[in-house]
Symmetry: C2
Subunit: 260 residues, 2 copies
Amino acid sequence: MKTLIVYAHPEPDSLNGSLKDLAVSTLEGAGHEVRVSDLYAMNWKAAVDAADYGPDASSPLKVALDSGRAFESGRLTPDVRAEQEKLLWADTIVFQFPLWWYTMPAILKGWVDRVFTYRFAYGVGVHDETRYGERFGEGTLAGRKALLSVTVGGPASHYEARGINGPIDDLLFPVHHGILYYPGIESLPPFVLYGSDRMTPERYEEAAEAWRERLLTLDSTDPIPYRRQNFGDYELPSLHLRPGLEPKGRTGFALHLRDA
Amino acid sequence: MKTLIVYAHPEPDSLNGSLKDLAVSTLEGAGHEVRVSDLYAMNWKAAVDAADYGPDASSPLKVALDSGRAFESGRLTPDVRAEQEKLLWADTIVFQFPLWWYTMPAILKGWVDRVFTYRFAYGVGVHDETRYGERFGEGTLAGRKALLSVTVGGPASHYEARGINGPIDDLLFPVHHGILYYPGIESLPPFVLYGSDRMTPERYEEAAEAWRERLLTLDSTDPIPYRRQNFGDYELPSLHLRPGLEPKGRTGFALHLRDA
């Protein structure tokens, strides 16, 4: 495997830092190639602006079109080009981050906003009567797998089906489906470590063992079975799921899962 | 009203810039006080790091505890203190942003990550057998209302109940409930402008009229009726919604709505 680890925590001596280090040593120990994008160490620029597109920035700025032109002309900034190259190199991408306010830290969202440009991650493929671009299962990054490794301060029960925060699968749907599956990446079930605010050495050892086990079984783990966009499950142009495809009573984000 | 507008778009001459300007002129024209946090113009720092907490940063850095200590000692950075003061001043907060990858731009997430510190937005109130802190309906910012004004590139149908992106109410739940309601802010139903990639002067005029109408009726608009945490709807310590409170068949994020 060729694994890119995208890591977003400001403190190397943190739970997230330890899990990232463990991922590197575990995967390399098993003979895999590993590259790491340590966003804080790289001083990653989080905010999209005209400087990202150099001479391809129009005035007024048009984020989608300008990013697509800069991508096609090879004139995106070197930091963004390097991340796109790493994504094309990798067959597996691990994201290591703490859940802050129910989603990823700003620096990691800024990695998505700047790296997932038009013509690279969206605005790819033909739009006609039968296809709405190459996305949700197709696209530039098709064939790759991702794994979110997320630390969560609160207890698991708060993130269960009836928990006050909402189900963790629904909170992560906009990342798994909206960000990753859109340009073609399939996500494995996430590795979620709850109670990170109250970690003990004993609990860390258990978590580390579980994390090693997940890392060493990536190849045999089935991805979350999202429905592909262009293969009959959705009506065009509404992109509504066709009636009756889902099990009775299923609603919400889970509509977009194929049946097991 | 005292309205804070938090605005996140890199181009002043954009749809988001126009809607922000229209909000200022409409509200001021109606006699309300308005302040604007223009995150790009302020060169807002998006990434949480040790520099945010000055002498209150411990080593290794502990984001929650250190931010709480810096908050309590009055030593958060001036940019963060200014935003907290604006939030305390305001009775209404309008967020104007484009939906990028199904959520807010990184610069706005970084405003949340840095301004919503421990002891200010979370870690507030007593935790005992009957209360799990002051949050979800109580908290530092209780009594305030928020309104998300969001531009969306794609068409509305893709964000309807069966749309491929998932329902817009579910995509915004982590913001409305997880970010805003947590420290006590009630959200009004969002103003969502679809098809922003294909805006025409005629469509803009319609949208502007609808936006003015929303802004001039904020006081008479009911907020999204989320359930309060500490008033009997949730079991402690699981914070599961008590059985049977919801209408038959309701699941997912919508469990946390009170019945109309």
